[in-house]
Symmetry: C2
Subunit: 403 residues, 2 copies
């Protein structure tokens, strides 16, 4: 296990000691592991190899522990040329992250975050989340037999809390200003030897690199032009972009695709700052969107996402709840039932098309972050049709509608 | 595309014409594709290969159509040596079928069934199901742009019908004796050119072979001693056993594992017949179990499963709802949140242990058929704990419980 530096994404201050800290002591901006410059893919049969084993060269600071393995990653990349044709572009691909162990992309970051905690000897882990991340950390914590603290917001819906609780974590409904909990959790973690693996914890962000690695392999190293990422705290898009950078560093790909950050119009702090050319985000005061999984009014990696987009040549956009529902439906008609947050990615393509930003040679990857079963309450917003029919009239009815 | 015979599983009558029929004209028992005797695995990078491409030799009668691809299969096999130790056996593995495109094993049989229908020129498909199979057929029918009929029972719960409806099939709530619908659908299919891909349709059963193929690869061709399969209509256990037989035929494995059929005590027609040494099953009059996904009172492949178990040396067992809930909890503590029907498999191990049927050298695979998110109402049956805490008291609380 080689030690890698953590570097501040803003002021370049570097930290050499074994740390699980998230933020720079000087400017409070997020830290990031230094880039891997040498490495290759460990080719093998994926049926007998884990994701981290395949890409181990890109995790030189992690020692794999089979106790933690739930087999995250290796998710499908489904193409839809027919849909691409509608938008006059070359191809659209969907990276279906709903086929992970807890049915969202979070598992990739959880496994690296928890592994780092285990490597450093922690016996307690935690997270601040009411959604996909909470479920994921509860599952992996349970699998690794770690004491696992999940801090949720007081009054969270039954549909959300029960699928977390079933894994048996120490589940705490916190009464108070939930937005203060991210910082508070870090100090509580220090005091109680709990490694908090929050949304943009550096070793969590690292886990999302494998999304990029797999996309490269799945497209035979012909990288797409754009990767569209539904964005909340900012950890996922940062990790994915870093993954492409590292494959570029080692010579596996010839360019880094442009990142497109998509947010819900009802809570779009990164988009708001991006469109006004600001360097820092402002807190959204009254967040309101059906895409709960990306409803973060003050994303901790927001400023870094703005810096990353500038370097990368990417952009940020926002889509309305109406658009989200429309494209949740459209995705289902392609066989992909996703949570509302994930549907923002296809809604984004529609917007890019209308704004003449994408062209005929473009190949675009949408990240479908999580399963539609994560938030079935959204189904009530759709007009879903079922026809009633008596058994003895069934044949006649089918004859009639089948014409 | 080579034509293969369909053979009656009971009277050996064979059918040579291109057919989608399920049942023998003479004895009404299920038909089955003749066994593949020659073939090999198409080795390749699974990230750029579909499941059916890898195992194409074992589907000589199917022509792959990329329009249908949602990337089913290649699901994890998670081992738990710690749990095996509790039961004094060598190892327990969980084949996590919840990581499929619609989060259950059904997708494997749907893709082969729908593909066969497309190969034969059908433009309409259908199924009779209120659960996993309905969702799966709706998704694949939608993806393949086929007119898709899903026949559900009148009065099915919202939680069940909406995740089917979102894919946009022709969804029909049938009012009448639902148990008659299986046969009725076949005659309606004939009359209206609809290919019904029901629970034990021969080309659906074929799809489940890949579960066995993958297990063989994942265990480096050292097959397990037992494979435990939650069983409803009987299609899945038949397909899995056939997959092992075909890998045995071509010399890839040295033996066929014993199959263990597990049913819920509240609806266990196959177990009932097995324990009384009967050759045919009787209908269960008042089925009642929390494991809805395997609550079939008169499974169409029931008799064939009995014949298969005799040939294979396997057995059938039943577990109570109380046991199902206990082991749903236990599985979650291993990071695997499954639907109640899937938890029967681990409950079965507990029973086999108590009955001294399994021994220290045994390696057992449990098939986890579907995601716990499929039926979240089951969570109400668990005592799930969350602790409320004020933000300012959080540190003290964690100090207290963490001791």
């Amino acid at each position: 296990m080689k030690e890698y530096k953590l570097i501040c994404t803003n002021c370049d201050e570097s930290y050499e000691k074994e740390t699980i800290d998230f933020r720079c002591n000087h400017c409070s901006e997020p830290l990031e592991l230094e880039e891997v410059k040498i490495g290759k893919i460990n080719d093998g049969n994926i049926l007998t190899q884990t994701n981290l084993e395949r890409y181990q060269d890109f995790y030189p600071y992690l020692t794999i522990d089979s106790k933690l393995n739930l087999n995250e990653g290796f998710t499908p990349l489904v193409s839809s040329k027919a849909l691409a044709k509608e938008y006059g572009i070359k191809n659209i691909y969907f990276k279906n992250e709903s086929q992970n162990p807890t049915w969202s992309f979070k598992d990739r970051g959880t496994v690296t975050g928890v592994l780092r905690a285990m490597n450093l000897g922690y016996e307690k882990i935690g997270t601040v989340s009411t959604g996909n991340m909470a479920t994921s950390v509860a599952a992996y914590g349970s699998k690794a037999e770690l004491e696992t603290y999940v801090l949720v917001k007081k009054g969270i819906a039954d549909e959300k809390i029960k699928p977390i609780a079933i894994y048996g974590p120490r589940l705490i409904e916190v009464d108070g200003d939930y937005s203060k909990l991210y910082d508070k959790s870090l100090s509580i973690g220090h005091e109680n030897d709990i490694c908090f693996i929050n949304s943009d914890a550096p070793y969590r962000v690292e886990g999302y690199k494998t999304i990029a690695f797999e996309i490269c392999e799945q497209l035979n190293f012909e990288v797409p032009d754009y990767v569209i990422v539904p964005t909340s705290a900012g950890g996922d898009v940062r990790g994915i972009e870093k993954g492409f950078r590292e494959f570029f560093n080692v010579g596996l790909i010839k360019k880094v695709p442009k990142m497109i950050v998509v947010q819900a119009a009802g809570c779009s702090p990164i988009y708001n700052a991006f469109k006004d050319n600001k360097l820092v985000i402002d807190r959204v005061m009254d967040p309101d969107t059906i895409a709960h999984a990306i409803e973060n009014p003050y994303p901790p990696s927001g400023n870094q996402v703005l810096r990353m987009l500038k370097r990368n040549g990417g952009l940020a956009i926002a889509v309305t709840d109406e658009e989200i529902l429309k494209f949740q439906n459209k995705l289902a008609s392609l066989g992909l039932f996703v949570q509302p947050a994930s549907a923002t990615s296809l809604a984004a393509i529609d917007k890019l098309y209308k704004d003449n930003i994408i062209g005929e040679s473009d190949r675009i990857v949408c990240i479908l972050t999580g399963s539609g079963l994560k938030y079935t309450a959204a189904l009530d917003k759709h007009e879903l049709k079922a026809h009633g029919c008596k058994l003895e009239e069934l044949n006649d009815y089918i004859k009639k509608v089948g014409k």
